[in-house]
């Protein structure tokens, strides 16, 4: 059994993740995930529904989230070429009770995305399943739920939340 995760430790990890995303170090972001890691965004009208039984916006296994990162770094990922300016704000971090090696951590977030003379705001909350590894904390599962009822006016989620 690993030592309990403190909130400060969890915050440092989440802030580091946010910094990687805002710096467009997306492959480094993907490396934060375990080999069986998942990255999920549910539909805005069914936030409680499960990924295999309802239509999600993002349902990435580890391979796909790595490919998402690689794709977004290409000039031919047109929706993000030129790249957006993003700023991930992470707050209200709560560390839950660990179940075996998995440590649940939740937070609130707001992501600002600015591109082509337009700024979009993505408010939401995220639930993580973290675990300790030799390389430090790793993400087994990240589910980012948008607190908006329709994806308007944002229109798309071409960045990583």
């Amino acid at each position: 059994m690993s030592t309990p995760l403190t909130r400060t430790e969890a915050e440092e990890f989440l802030f580091q993740e946010a910094a990687l995303l805002d710096a467009w170090k997306l492959e480094e972001w993907a490396e934060l995930f375990t080999e069986d890691g998942e990255y999920l965004i549910p539909a805005t009208d069914a936030p409680e529904a499960g990924p295999g039984t309802s239509l999600y916006l993002v349902y990435d296994d580890r391979h796909r989230l790595g490919e998402r990162a690689k794709r977004l770094l290409k000039k031919t990922a047109h929706a993000e070429s030129p790249r957006s300016l993003t700023r991930h704000m992470t707050t209200n971090v709560v560390v839950g009770k660990a179940n075996d090696a998995l440590i649940p951590v939740s937070c609130n977030f707001v992501v600002f995305r600015s591109r082509m003379e337009k700024t979009d705001i993505y408010p939401g909350h995220a639930e993580y399943q973290l675990l300790r590894s030799n390389q430090g904390l790793r993400i087994r599962n990240k589910k980012a739920t948008l607190d908006i009822d329709v994806l308007r006016p944002q229109g798309k989620v071409s960045i990583i939340l």
Partner: protein
Amino acid sequence: MTVQERPVSSAAGLIIDDRQEARFKVNRNVFVEDDILGLERDRIFEKCWLYLGHVSEVSKPGSFVARRVGGRPLLFTRDRENNLNALYNTCSHRGAMVCRERAGNRRAFTCGYHAWTFDEKGHFIGMPGREALPTNATDNGKLDLVRVERMEEFRGFVFVCFDRNVEPLVDYLAGAADYLAYVADQGEHGMEIVEGSQDYSIAANWKLLQENSVDGYHGQPTHVTYFDYLRSRDGTTTNFAGSGAQGWVKNLGNGHAVSESIGALPWGRPYARWAPGWGESAKPEVEELSKQIMARLGPERGNVVANGDRNMIIFPNLVVNDIMATTIRTFYPVRPDYIEVSAWSLAPVGESATSRDRRMRNFVEFLGPAGFASPDDVEMLELCQRGYANRASAPWNDISRGMLSNAPKKTDELQMRTFWRRWRQLVSGDPNLELNGP
């Protein structure tokens, strides 16, 4: 602001359909001008059959869905007699929407303003202080919710029309009915909409999304990163450059068109064409599903249903893409340069948990606001819309590909010309304008 009517000749002149020179041009004003959108509202969205929803969304007595169709807030209900109803979501008293939820199950809709109450068929059933109105005030349904003028179903797809005199839905659908039937035939026990909508927006004209949804020519340049992903996932080095040209396009009548191929495309179909990226463990189930479809429908039709990929546009604003998953997508222009889009996943009733999971993964690998492809489509449509600010000096879109061909390919543009010829006929108000052509 009033809508200024363009003379018919002017509306017809917005499209050049020159068969001698094999030249088809669309004037960019049609994507930008408010008076064009006014004509489209009057002559297209008020006159054509529009997709309301799928029967599975109101599966039980009392089930309802509230959504805008053609810009109007509607209620889609299944009543206690198991009949479908399409009602205007507006109180007979002062007009407030009587239902604020997106979906649910209930026997009555009570307006929040003065508590007038209606049943699931829209019949008035009560109000506080009834005695202040004459006893005959509610006779003959005078205070009922107003029913949408027409509602009809085809193979589970429910449409409405705001024009009482419209032709029957199946006649309107023309050849598109056969293709909706291919889609509906996937499920032995019917099809259903999966929970979870994709409600998003695009800062572009609605007609650009209709063009894009059957455009086989943009696949490689716009979606090169999706094909990179497929190669990585499937562990192949296949060059997909040729796959877009395989297959054919068809004019289905009344402005509807399909882009189609059988077995040529590199992705998997949950019902039922296996792809390497799904793993060997998925293969037996997918092959069994395919076999069942062949046995049920016969080898010829079964092959089309299971192994065919179809991108279909149904005039004016319905898209059914039956590809790596099946998506139903509809949209409405709030402004000439802004549309609201709603998309759903259609799936066979009774699908196994493993197959449904593959479908959900497959859908969003390409489709939707966070897929590996749709956001790039949106980017291109929005760039077109921005470019049209130059229309005074650069006025024409070119849609001429394949006009000389007897066997138009998916990378040609017959499917868009089919849409535009119907658009021209309705907007100009000249029923003699030709819908067929190369």
